[in-house]
Structures are given as structure tokens and as C-alpha cells.
Amino acid sequence: MWRSRQFLWGVALLLVVALAPAVSSVSAQAQPKRGGTLTVGISADAATLNPFVFRFNVERNVLHATHETLVNYNLQTFELANSGALESWQVSRDGLTYTLRLWANLKFHDGSPATADDLKWSLEKAAQPTSGRTFALLTLMDRVEVADPRTVRVIMKSPDGIFTDTLVDVWLAKKDTSDADLATKPNGTGPFKLVRWDRAQGFTLERNSDYHVAGKPYLERLVLRIIPDDTVRQIQLFNGQIDLIDVFPVASVAQFKLNRDLQVYEVRGDKAMALVYFCLSNVNPPFNDKRVRQAASLAIDRAKIKTLLFGLHDARGTAIPRTSPFYATGVADYSRRNAARARQLLAEAGTPNPEFELVYHSGFAEDIIAQAVEQSLRDVGFRVNLRPIEIGQYVAQVLTPPFRFQGGLTWIVPKPNPYDQLNHPYGKLNGQALQYARVNQGFYDKLQAARGLANPDQFKAALQDLQKMIAEDQPAIIVGGKVFLHASYKYVKGFTIHPQQRLFFTDVWLDK
């Protein structure tokens, strides 16, 4: 009996010794390590770091390091989460008063505390016409009142169903900061402080020790290195010069996945918020004729584009995906090509061979999409002149008055809610470029009215009516859903891909 006990103790000891490394490694994996420098390859430089007027994704990603939006999305559920500057938010029963409360220990990078006055100023700034991204979304905001040092009350002119969602795009900035300082000297409450901005080279940021979330960020330094060329970015990642990249050629996905040291992050299918977007001038020929717009949409071979992009493209012709409960059934389906009908429409319009210039900002995938669009339009009689341009030129020509363009191909990233999935492509900046309001102001009246609908069924019905209008008029063409890809070394932990391609580094740590 004594020997059996000995034997059992021996087995137990053996098990402990054998399992201890595994247990300890699991424990170690679960524990983020503090310190280290993460170097990220980004595709372009920023033109401005003003959180109220920025236009490019790259600018927003730098801002996510230095500033905070008022709220964020939970990336699993796409519901609003208090991982931004607001600790909480409440809406009154009549929908006319919102109470927004800041976290207790928020500090700007200059050491000053963030207060309700700063919040009030930020909201009012975001509601100004110069704040292109948020102005149209805050038109129902009447005034902002300071309730206590951490709380404001936002009084609405009428109920606004998307107000809290809009707060994802409102950034907290220090009161009375000049536009010049906003643009070049970011002073936010974000997890990182900007140390240096070397134009065309990159951004160097260091950990904000006063960040309001205890223990975060884990990284000591964050370097955002500007590498415009996709291939060079890829090479630098493979060589270990950078740890994570935001965009790489779709043709290289297989190569990345075969590399045992790398991990690929992707957002696919209906979760891919980004859309490949064909912006049409509704007032300039040839797309001032609805039939020509419909013909173009029917002619595009979306399935072919998916093949050409190695399956990394969602072949759909609507902004709201089919699987969404808000999707309007029974409307014209543009996801499947119908060349015969496209030719018929052009003949009915009296323009069997409409000619136009299609501008697009060049990149590997963008070139493929543009040429595929050109080919499929040419097959039905369009004469397309492709002109690849830089993103800055695209913004200047397509998104800036007097909107001197006929067709523009780009990608857009609406927020993951059905209202913004309509508002982003057909309203806001893109809506101005389309000039669709000159064709159908009723659409915008209905879009505005939908915001105030508190009844969910009425809200859904309104969005479906709007989709029917768009399906009929095709003011812009949705070429498909764009799949985003990031890649990093496996020692980069805690990074989660965002469906809007926003880069957050608060939770990132290095396991090396």
C-alpha cells in the first residue's frame, strides 16, 4: 500500500513537471507584455491631422493613435461601445436630449484635464459646415449645454435615430485649439503622443502614460512608416523591417499565408463594410441620363472582378448586403451582369456609344477593377478613357466643387449600420459629388426624415423605400464589397482588424 501511494505521488509529480511549461506558457500568452516598438507600414502620408476636416483613411489612423472618438464599435457585435472618450451616454424618452459623460481621468497630451467644456466645443466644431465629415450628420443638433465638469446635455431639434452612431466620427479635442494647431500638433486624449512627424517619411509616437485606461497601451513606441508602394511594403515586412502592414497586393495573399511567421487579417463578405464605388456625375453627360447609369451598372461583370481579385471581392450591386434585415427585396438586381439589357437601355437613351473619362486612384487592385469595368462597359458599347491619378488629385477633382468629372472609381467605407450604408455613398461628401439632389431631392428629404423615426418598423420601411429609389435611379454604382487585408508577424498580439480599416493599437503588444 505504501508503494502504491509512492507510485501515485510519483505519477502526480511527473504530471506536474510535464504540464508546468504548458501551463506557464498558456499563462504567459494570456498576459500582455509591456514595452517594445511596433513599426507599421502605411500607404500614404497625411495632409492634415485636424480631426474635424481630415479626408483620408491614413489620417484617421494616425488620429486614432493620438485622439479618441466619443464612442467606438464593438468589433464582434458592431454595437456601440464605451471604448472611446465617453464613459456613458443616455437619451431621453422623447429623443430630444442626450446626456454624454466623459471618463473621469481623461487628460490631453499637454497634461490638462479633458472637461465638459472641451466636449461641448468638440461637438459644436463637428457641427460646423467646415467639418465635412460630420456636419451633415449633426444638423438636428440644436445646442450643447454643460451640465457638470464631465457631462454635457445635447438638445436636439427633433429626434435623430443616428445621433449616437454619429459620435463614432466625433473626436474629442481641446477647446479653442486653432485650426493650424489641430492640423499639425495633435493634442488629444489618445493612447499615444506624437513625438515626430517627418513628412513623407512617417510618424513616431510614444506611449501616453496618462491614458485613462489603466495599464494601456502596452507598446512603448509606435512608428507609422510611410511606404506608398505595395510591393516595397511587402518586402519590408518580409525582411523584418516592419511588423505590420495595412494594405498589400491581393495577389500576394497566398504568399503571406504560406509564411509561417506571418498572420493575415481579413474582413470578408457581408462584414466587409468597404465598397468599391463608381461615382457618377448625375449632371454631366453621359450619366445625366438615368438609362445610361442603369446600363453601366448592368454591364459591369462583378463576378469576373471577384475572380480577378482571387475571390477577395464581394460581387454585389447594393450598398446594403442581401443578408441584412434592412435589405429591400424585389428591387432591380444589378449584381448579375445583363449585357443585352444594358445595350437596350443605351439604345433607348439614344446614345449607343457614350464616351466618358473614368478617373481612379491607382493601385494594384484598383487597376484591375478599373480595367475590368472598362472592358465590361466597352462590350456593351461604352467608350471609356481610363485615367489613373493620385488620391489627392481624385479628391480635388471628384470630391471638390465644381466636381469636374464624369466617372470616378474609388472605395468608400460606410459605418456598420444600415443608415450610413445609404448615407455614405449617396449623401455626405459623395452625395455632393453625385449632385443627385439636383435629380431627386426627394431622396434626401426622405433620408433626412428617416433619421427621426423612432419606430424600428418605420425606420426599416423608410430605408427600404430609399433603396428602391436608388435601384431605379442608380445615382452611383456599387461595384462590390472590398475585402480588407492586413498582415503582421505572429508576435504581434492583440490586434483586431476593423471593418472600416481603422487601425487601433491600444490593445496591441509584442510577444518577443
Binding site: P249, L308, S362, F364, I368
Partner: protein
């Protein structure tokens, strides 16, 4: 009497030069290579199995299944695209060189013959152009004017104008004091006749050599502009653009950038070989007049 002697001696000289030119195997290789390139690119609509802009098959396929060199990123036949791109590249190369000659030649003639203020103004202008790196100047010109075949020809031609103007000026300076020029003046020939009938033919040998070398540089510059995205617009093929796109898919389709690069390499090499051969054959120290 001098014309008869000159014609006879000149004819004998030219025959000797031609023999010398054709005796150089490397030069003949260049001629054959360029000739072949010229023929296949000219006959591209006949030789190419597919139109250059047709999506003929699956993307990035290796050679086989009817595609001699495989397919590109959107499924177009690579072989057809390389052939058609050759028409663009050779056309741009020739056009740009012709522009450079067309502008540089008269400037050089005027500058060298009349001298004085004409010379100062023209040559200072050429110095100004030469101060800019050629590719940068071409890039800037295309960026301002817009990327079209015509504008690319103008841009590349512009950067090569100083080369021809200085070359012609040097030849004019060397010949304008010669006896036969004086004789022509004495016989009543005006400046225009002296320039075009008496002096210009003697400038042709170095001009011919420079033409081939500038042609090669122009092809390379066009490829560079297309590589940088300021060249020919898609879907029209260009070797430089194919190089740029091909490098993104090198792991999947290595032939794509390699063949585009090889086409540029062979064209530039053949032109340089011809130019070197011409330079040797036309070297005036090899022959004496009788």
C-alpha cells in the same frame, strides 16, 4: 570638276563604310535583332493571337493552353500585349527622337552658322534644359500636359533637343570655315543653301549615330514613365507599365515582368549596338579623300 572627284571619292568612301559596318558581327547582330523586333511589332495585328485588350483567359496563368507566355493579371494574353506594347514603345521612341531632331537640328544649324547673339541665346537655353535630369524633366512635362502618347513624345523629345542642337552646332562650326563652303559662297549660294545643301550633309554621320542612341534612350524613358504611372494609359499596353504591374505578381507569374523587361532590354541593346557600329563605320579618320 571638283564635283565629279568629290562624288567618286564619296561613293567609294560610303561603300567602304558600309563594308566596315557589315563586317562587325556585333553590329549585324544588333541590326538583325532590331529588324526582327520591328517586323514582329509592326505585324502585331497579324501575329498576335489575341487583341491586346481582350480578357482571353484566367488571370496569371503560366505558358500553355494557347497562351505562349501566359496571361496577365486580368487574363489578357501576355505575348499579344508585349507585341502591341512594342508598337507603342518603338513609335514613341521614333517620334520623340524625330521631335528632338526636328527641333534640335535647325537650332544647332542657326547657332553654329550665325554665331553671336543667336548662338548665345540658343546655347544658354540648351544649357538650361540640360541642367535638369532628363527623366525628371520628362516626368514634369507629362504631369503638366497629361499622359497621352502625343504628350509623352513631346516630353521625351524635349529633353533630347539639347543633345542634337549641340552636336549639329559642333559639326557646323567645324565645317563652316572649310574651302568647299567658301567656294559655295563664292559661287553665289545664299546662307540657306549653304546651310542645307553644303553643310548639313556633312553633319549627317554624327547625327545618324546620335539618332540611334537617342532612340534607345527614348524607349527606356518611355518605359520609365509608364513604370511610374505617367506613361501610356491602360488598357493600352506598355512595357514599362507591364514591368510595374508584373513586379506585384512576380511570385505567381515570374514571366510577366521578366518578358516585359527583356523586351525593353533587347530593344535598347540592339539600338546601342547599331549606334556603336555606325560610330565606328563613320569615323572620318578611317578614310582619306582623293
Amino acid at each position: 570638276m571638283s564635283d565629279v572627284v568629290w562624288t567618286g571619292a564619296a561613293t567609294a568612301n560610303w561603300r567602304r563604310r558600309l563594308r566596315r559596318f557589315l563586317r562587325d558581327y556585333v553590329t549585324v547582330l544588333g541590326l538583325v535583332l532590331f529588324g526582327a523586333l520591328l517586323i514582329v511589332t509592326t505585324l502585331a495585328p497579324v501575329i498576335a493571337p489575341f487583341p491586346y485588350d481582350r480578357f482571353a483567359g484566367p488571370p496569371l496563368r503560366p505558358p500553355g493552353e494557347g497562351f505562349l507566355l501566359g496571361t496577365d493579371e486580368v487574363g489578357r494574353d501576355l505575348f499579344s500585349r508585349i507585341l502591341y506594347a512594342g508598337r507603342i514603345s518603338l513609335g514613341v521612341g521614333f517620334g520623340a527622337t524625330a521631335v528632338a531632331v526636328g527641333v534640335g537640328l535647325p537650332l544647332g544649324l542657326v547657332s553654329g552658322y550665325f554665331g553671336g547673339r543667336y548662338d548665345s541665346v540658343i546655347m544658354r537655353g540648351m544649357d538650361g534644359l540640360l541642367a535638369f535630369p532628363a527623366l525628371l524633366l520628362a516626368l514634369t512635362t507629362v504631369a503638366v500636359l497629361g499622359p497621352s502618347v502625343r504628350n509623352i513624345i513631346m516630353a521625351i523629345g524635349l529633353v533630347s533637343v539639347p543633345i542634337f542642337s549641340r552636336l549639329v552646332r559642333a559639326s557646323v562650326l567645324a565645317f563652316k570655315q572649310r574651302d568647299f563652303v567658301e567656294a559655295a559662297r563664292a559661287m553665289g549660294a545664299g546662307d540657306l543653301r549653304v546651310l542645307t545643301v553644303t553643310i548639313l550633309p556633312n553633319c549627317l554621320p554624327p547625327l545618324t549615330v546620335q539618332f540611334t542612341l537617342t532612340f534607345a534612350t527614348a524607349v527606356l524613358t518611355e518605359a520609365g514613365l509608364s513604370f511610374l504611372g505617367l506613361g501610356i494609359r491602360p488598357p493600352t499596353p506598355s512595357w514599362g507599365m507591364m514591368l510595374n504591374t508584373g513586379r506585384n505578381v512576380m511570385a505567381l507569374a515570374p514571366l510577366y515582368p521578366v518578358m516585359a523587361g527583356a523586351a525593353v532590354f533587347l530593344t535598347v541593346l540592339s539600338l546601342n549596338l547599331i549606334g556603336d557600329g555606325l560610330r565606328d563605320a563613320l569615323d572620318p579618320h578611317q578614310f582619306t579623300r582623293t
